[in-house]
């Protein structure tokens, strides 16, 4: 039985303004491009980082970062 369903990070590009908090809070999953916009690493978020990921989603000033469940796909 799985403890947690895996989840993937996604960016709403229409709302993202390049604040860059996500890269600070999830440095192993997100880096910033030349213009301050997030480059999200492919693949699901590791279980260890899940809590930090949820925090990054909650803290994004533009509410542009999403955590989508990949369970059942």
């Amino acid at each position: 039985m799985r403890a947690k369903d895996s989840a993937e990070l996604a960016v709403d590009w229409g709302t993202c303004k390049g604040h860059g908090l996500c890269a600070e809070l999830l440095p192993d999953h997100i880096t910033l491009d030349d213009w301050g916009y997030p480059i999200v690493g492919a693949g699901p978020v590791s279980a260890a980082a899940a809590k930090r990921a949820r925090r990054a989603v909650a803290d994004c000033p533009a509410l542009a970062l999403k955590l989508k469940s990949t369970a059942g796909k």
């Binding site: 709302t15 303004k17 604040h19 908090l21 803290d59």
Partner: protein, 197 residues
């Protein structure tokens, strides 16, 4: 308890709340404009905005509780949340109640930020621009603590808070104008002239 201690505590915590909420406003404006505070990472501005707003709640709670408990004036618990229900200075206390209601909406939606729809969160958070002026009005009406409008050093402090927020707003508007000027055509123009340089 000595009535005046309660009253003066209410006044004092009221002034502190004003200053703290002014800081919260400025920090919120800084976040929206992507402003960085020196020495702090980007999430530092957001974290500070959140921490100070939660701290303000503590001072606000004391400000309200002491005002209710104080027997010098008649302010009921109901009057805290229902605007203009107080028998003492219904207008100015009522504005305080409006501010409290708005504050609750702001804080609750922000605590549930990742669970509610972004559009709803944003719509409610815009109410901050109504909340803070109402706080200022409430302060002006009751800040002197003894009938009549605010005066003396409390007045100057309030003016300073207003000027600070206006300055932050001015910066924010300038940032927004700059941002809205950035179109693909403008970026192309800038890139071309950089090449020639």
């Amino acid at each position: 308890m000595n009535a005046s201690v309660l009253w003066y505590t209410s006044q004092a915590t009221g002034i502190v709340s004003l200053v703290l909420y002014t800081m919260v406003m400025m920090l919120g404006i800084a976040v929206a404009g992507q402003g960085r505070l020196p020495g702090l990472p980007r999430f530092g501005t957001v974290a500070l905005h959140r921490s100070i707003s939660l701290l303000s709640i503590v001072f606000l709670a004391v400000h309200i509780a002491t005002a209710i408990l104080d027997s010098y004036v008649n302010i009921s618990v109901l009057a805290t949340f229902v605007p203009f229900a107080s028998s003492y200075e219904p207008l100015w206390v009522g504005l305080g109640a409006v501010a409290v209601d708005l504050m609750i909406a702001l804080v609750v939606t922000s605590l549930l930020r990742d669970r509610i729809s972004p559009r709803i969160w944003r719509a409610v958070h815009w109410l901050a621009y109504a909340f803070w002026p109402i706080v200022i009005a409430h302060t002006i009406g009751l800040g002197s603590g003894s009938g009549g409008l605010i005066s003396g050093w409390e007045l100057w402090l309030t003016i300073a808070c207003v000027l600070a927020v206006f300055a932050a707003l001015g910066w924010r508007i300038a940032v927004q104008l700059e941002r809205s000027r950035r179109t693909p055509a403008q970026v192309l123009q800038t890139m071309r002239s950089e090449v020639r340089a």
